[in-house]
Symmetry: C2
Subunit: 84 residues, 2 copies
């Protein structure tokens, strides 16, 4: 079995209002040293399949078609062999 560990994050040029809200909250709680907060998604998908090349291709397609918005987001992933 393979586990895909996928990060889907906003492109650096895209504003992150949710992250900005967290930064503001933390400043008002007194955490003055905080410069920037970026929030993104982390997705783990378990595949009942051991062929890394095949799963890698599928994950690319899944990210392109479902998980990431190609206009504003990028993604990166790695595969890990896991026991059932």
């Amino acid at each position: 079995m393979l586990k895909a560990k996928i990060h889907v994050f906003l492109k650096p040029s895209v504003l992150d209002p949710q992250g900005q809200a967290v930064t503001n909250s933390l400043h008002s709680l007194g955490y003055d040293a905080i410069r920037e907060t970026r929030i993104s998604k982390y997705i783990e998908i378990k595949f009942d399949e051991n062929d890394e090349e095949k799963v890698s291709k599928q994950v690319h397609t899944i990210c392109d078609k479902l998980l990431a918005n190609p206009n504003t987001e990028k993604y990166a992933f790695e595969l890990e062999a896991v026991r059932d």
Copy 2:
């Protein structure tokens, strides 16, 4: 400057309806090998501070008080030195 790389994820015993929805979508798209999907948050916070021990303590407090729901979620983080 230090960057905290924080994962906030549902406890394994907690149902992940958003992940289940993604699994269902992927099954209906023909990805039959997919067994389970779990979705979590990944948060990066940049601190204008180089004292790892001090930042580590702050991140624990921030996760406990703001980012993670102690009833349903757990968190893990690491610190990375970054240039401005």
